[in-house]
């Protein structure tokens, strides 16, 4: 499953550690929420970076105390039809100020990229190779956005106001 990061296909520096596997002493790790919450301090105290795979039916509030020490939060789309992680993503970014990598995992398809980018995701475990390759082109598919989100793209409403002001400021 290719990882798209920074807009292109990239190697995944994080190792997924199964719940019953021993923890390596260093290196970047991605662990389940259950494993993380068993002993967060032990994980965060390691030498390597830590990431958590957070299920879409668990309140992100439980993760808030650790956000500034987490390198990655991976949210889950069990199927692309299940959109709960979009809300989690926006809450993490916009309300709780999470600055680390926000990764989309599960059934991640090309047709969700724009939604995901707007919700604050910046890395993607993409299901199909062809979709991963199409990332850059697909991400540019839309140039108009009606809603304000934390991604900072200007909304249609505000673009109109700017256009109007620049017109009225003219000669």
């Amino acid at each position: 499953m290719p990882l798209v990061k920074g807009g292109k296909i990239a190697a995944d520096a994080f190792v997924h550690v199964a719940d019953d596997a021993d923890l390596p002493g260093d290196g970047a790790l991605l662990v389940s929420a259950a494993r993380f919450l068993e002993d967060p301090e032990a994980l965060l105290g390691r030498a390597g970076k830590t990431g958590v795979i957070w299920p879409n039916n668990r309140d992100v509030d439980d993760l808030v105390p650790y956000l500034d020490r987490l390198a990655v939060v991976a949210l889950v789309f069990p199927t692309f039809r299940d959109g709960r992680a979009y809300s989690q993503a926006r809450l993490l970014r916009e309300r709780h100020g999470f600055k680390g990598e926000l990764r989309a995992t599960g059934q991640v398809l090309r047709d969700q990229f724009v939604f995901m980018l707007r919700a604050g995701f910046d890395s993607f475990e993409v299901k199909k190779e062809s979709d991963a390759e199409a990332f850059a082109a697909t991400a540019k598919r839309y140039s108009v956005f009606y809603q304000p989100t934390g991604d900072g793209r200007i909304t249609a409403l505000h673009r109109r106001m700017q256009l109007r002001h620049s017109e009225s400021a003219g000669p």
């Binding site: 959109g83 304000p148 106001m161």
Partner: protein, 551 residues
Amino acid sequence: MYAYDEIDRTLINERVSEFRDQVKRRLSGELTEDEFKSLRLMNGVYLQLHAYMFRVAIPYGTLSSEQMRRFAHVARRYDRGYGHFTTRQNIQFNWIKLAELPDALADLAEVGIHAMQTSGNCTRNITADQWAGVAPGEIEDPRIWAELLRQYSTLHPEFSFLPRKFKFAITASEHDRAAIKVHDIGLRLHRNAAGETGFEVLVGGGLGRTPFIGKTIKSFVPGRDLLSYVEAILRVYNQYGRRDNIYKARIKILVHELGIEKFAKEVEDEWLAMRDSALTLDDSDVEDIRSRFTYPAYEKLPHMPEELKKAAHDPHFEAWRKNSTFAHKVPGYAIVTVSLKPIGGPPGDATAEQMDAIADLADKYSFGELRVGHEQNLALPHVARRDLPALWRALDKIGLATPNVNLVTDIIACPGLDYCALANARSIPIAQELTRRFANHDTANLIGRLHVNISGCINACGHHHVGHIGILGVEKNGEEFYQITIGGRADEHAVVGTLIGPAVPYGDVADVVEDLVEAYLALRARPDELFIDTVKRLGVEPFRERVYATR
């Protein structure tokens, strides 16, 4: 009319090219049918019994003559020469070929029409009172807010994969023509004690297999906070709405299971955390949208022009005028409802020729503007009263002057088993038979206002729960049977109808309706007591007795 600018046009064109790419990937096999399904549904494309069905949005029920002509073009070029207006201010084409869909969408996009989110588990077409902007006594034009909501909900990055579909309706009149109480969110513009305008917000209404009347979640939300409050509701629903069972996934079930108080508290907590955000609408935002709605330059015209006095001698004209024309907020003008319920015809259908002709009439008599209502009729919203006789003659010529608005033959019906893959039973032939039974206008007029609603399955697209007489098709041992309810209504006094007894076979439905009508005529206290009021006064028992005494 709202005029699209370059920004709106860019977005729908981008959507067309996205969909073109999706169709291409489906046809090449790169997308599985399961993956494609959600994508096509978000563009209003269903796979029906015989072909793909294509549902196109008419936001808040307003369209221009140019847009109507484009529907005629799509019907002719890509379909079989007709279209079907639905209960949610959409039009459906029933015979579209998948490979041609992107072209049909592109043709529509040229006139600012799209099919975005007319299906799928996302926010659907924002519907409104079809008389918005012209109804006497309206607080203000609710379409300004409907357009703000349309933009807000279009391709929403957080709410495009909700547990289930999500429908908004909005009204600014005391009398509710938009059926806001049977929508996921219903909005009623009103003035509070301090004289400010804002919204009563209702949540959790809906029909389907578990009908609920919407409950007030907040009695006053100022306009500036409308989008943030709606976002709070949607966020709570997106996270906590059920996804384990499609029949329990609508917000009405979440509201019911939590109780309105607890649900309202969840929403309030969420809202307080984000109400002062980029979603807050300042006056200039609202004014910008308002400024792009154009209104006719009405003339100062007499209420009783000579033309009207003269035509009053023609009983056919008078029957139509009394039935199909309504008071306008501007003196000298009328709102004209155009019945799409001809005797013997499928409710809500119009041919390409009729669409073109009515577009011409809109240009000639209604400042180029048309409306579509949830009753599946059209309206010409700004007709000078002096033009009514000429308009009537022209409508009559194209078969659109049936004077049966709000009468027993003005039936709301879903496409049913004639088209729909979900249906258990036929709807259209039942409607057609009923219109023949009550074809006599004097009889229908004597009966008075009576809404008959027919759904071909439990999904209730024909809104049978809220028909004064509701007819629901079910299947029993491979045969079509129909459950009959009475006493439902969809207006400001919305209530779900009561079942009168065991389901009856296909061949008996029209007889049962006749029995109900005869019982009503015998039971009503006065000639002006409506069917619905007689049922309310007496309950279903006398009607039940009448229907089942001989069955």
